[in-house]
Amino acid sequence: MKHPGMINIVSDTSNEIFEWSERNFSKVKIVIEKYPAGKQQSAVIPILDLAQRQNNGWLNRSAIEKVSETLSMSFIRVMEVVSFYSMFNLEPVGKNFIQICRTTPCWLRGSNKLLDVVKEVTGCNLGETSEDKKFTLVEVECLGACCNSPMVQINDDYYEDLNEDNFRKVLLKLKNNENINKGSQSGRRGSSPEKN
């Protein structure tokens, strides 16, 4: 299995031309200003992130070239950064980018079962995107929420204290575009002691 971000080729299937949206371009300027003049290359990671958000969660060739142009870097230098970090996706992803934690604490608390659930509900294996383009499923290493394990990250939000039931509910709600609560699904606040 390869994480979508770990594929060393630029996907060129879409011929879309990436242009900064006005809102994002003003953000780009703010980020670049954080660094000394002439060192704008330091801003490459936050700016790639902005580009990825604007481009529906992945970076196509045009987006990477736009970033390199914005920062006056060479393409290959930006590409090195993009391909190094698994948070950057080089292939189109679904609307909900599910990152399921499989490191020891989550695994001890049943992340394997969650994996079965997610495969069943979304119909995709690890590293795949569902046919309706609603889900992309990848596994990740520890995301640092072990106290509320098992957990998954969907887009920018953590969903914690999962079990087969509540995780299935979460996924079904996502599938039907319903609102869901972020964070702990058992109803506790943060990592406060569980009552029982």
Partner: protein, 680 residues
Amino acid sequence: MPFITIDNQEIEFEDGMTVMQACELAGVEIPRFCYHDRLSIAGNCRMCLVEMDKSPKPIASCAMPATEGMKIKTNTDSIKRARKGIMEFLLINHPLDCPICDQGGECDLQDQALHYGLDRSRYEENKRAVKNKYMGPLVGTIMTRCIHCTRCVRFSTEIAGVDDLGLLGRGENAEITTYLEKAIESELSGNVIDLCPVGALTNKPYAFKARPWELNKTESVDIFDAMGSSIRIDTLGKKTLRVLPRLNEEINEEWISDKSRFAIDGLSKERIDIPYIKRNGKLISTEWDEVLNRITQEISKHGKENTLALSGKFTDIETLFATKYFVQSLGSNFFDCRYDNAQFIENQRSSYLFNSSIQEIDNAEVILLVGTNPRWEASVLNARIRKSYINNDCKIGLIGKKIDLTYEYSHLSDNIEHLNDLLNDRSPFSELLKNSKKSLMIIGNSAINFRDGKEVLNVCSEIAKKYNISTNNFNGFNVLQQDISKAGAIDIGFYNNDFAQNFDQKIKDHISKFNPVVFLLSCDEINHSILEGAFIVYLGHHGDVLAQLANVVLPTPAYTEKSSTYVNMEGRVLQTTRCYHPLGESKEEWKIFRSLSNNFSQKLRFNNLSELRNEISNLFPVFKEINNLPSSSKLDFGSATKIENRVLEYNIKNFYMTDVISRASITMANCSREILNKVA
């Protein structure tokens, strides 16, 4: 100076050295893959581990700065074990394909595996396989062999100045590649082949041709540009298989340009190896006696006192000298080396040399380029300018068309007229030049190959004096010659003042007036319409355009087939070495003129190469010392005339095809198609 103890031996080292450099001072060799003297430190191969006092773990000696009182051990058991461990990791994914690998026999990994490798593998999993990448017509790739030292990436970014190569992915998935697998767009790309410690990046045209131990290695001098880079020519029988750079700090460090390295396949294509005579508009092969007799007749018929000789890009001193004295013995004074119309000032050696020496570029603070594209005229020199730009923040100004020089520069003007502004303090660059402690001025052919060339030189000389570019003990006034033959030809006086300023017109006038015999000494870069009416004797090794127009074609050896003397752009006398005997019936030019002179009243006095060289150095003392940098002479010319408005055009239009050899080379044709014209 501080002291460091290496293997119980106390040595002195310079501040700023790394532990590895200190070990080298102590004569201890440290194995390495990623470290290279001329590249930045990466520290990722871990092969150079050594033991340091008070450190619980071994340290990477290439990245650790040496400090006073350090105690280093390089040959303990634990270090050997550590290096063995590293080697085992490197070999996990390295294929065991040495028998079919071009690097075999000269491979760093092979050599070091001999000392640190285990005799069996403990790894049962599959080896990783990596898809080969396309890097252009010169660099072949077998990426499975790559050990990720990133030397090639650092070379292309730091030295060549093209951000083409990169390391994508990480860990198990890391791969070296060019962006979207396009060709590396550098004139120095061939050097990554030498840098690669394994067989991942290989010489594409040389692939599977030979093993290093079968080759005859001849140390020689490169002739494709005027630098005279030190090279090693590897031959097998009468075939030149590859060219490698030799270390020469004063000229080329350890790089050579792609043309020097890869144009050699042109040496076995379109060669002239027997004499030809033109009968009924067709060149017919013939015997030496016959052609020489014919030439003798024609010389007498056309009037021997008007005989003309023109030199070319590769003409060596021996040829020039023999030609000059042969033509003079006929009572003619018509010979010239200004085939490109580049002007110089007679009897002023500093008006056509790179006076400051190439090495001085390293110390320059400001460099003014006038009508030159060093990237194409002398690629390795351009890498030096880039080095100075990076290391001492050297400021560069260019008068000429905007081009990508691999470093930033301020573009002063397209027009040579700008020299007037510089002289009168009105240029934006004047202030910089005034405040700089060491500045250089590099004048290219394109600035002086016009009828006002001499005035340009004079004004430049005034500018050099005004801004202290040239002082009493340093001369930063440099002319960047494009051809290795040029400086030497001027040195031995192979020119006639009658042909100055407008070469084409004046040669044309001479020929149409006298219809003389014209000797073309592998001179192919001239406008052939000017030769109309002449009896053309072409001496050369390639059947290029002018050979086809000639009435008589005489075969001569190429630069790998004769030992000849050249003067490089700095005025340094260099000698090439013969690698194998000339092809077919080719004869050295001086032998041809020596035997021709038998048919005339005045014989040339030399009978062999050493007699010829003796005679040259007796008449021209410059040639007494080889490889010596001439002491810089002062600028004894200059006048402040007004330079007329002229937009500069660079005279090299295609780097990969500048001369007979590179035009005959298929590799170079591929390069110009894929790299310059971007046709894949």
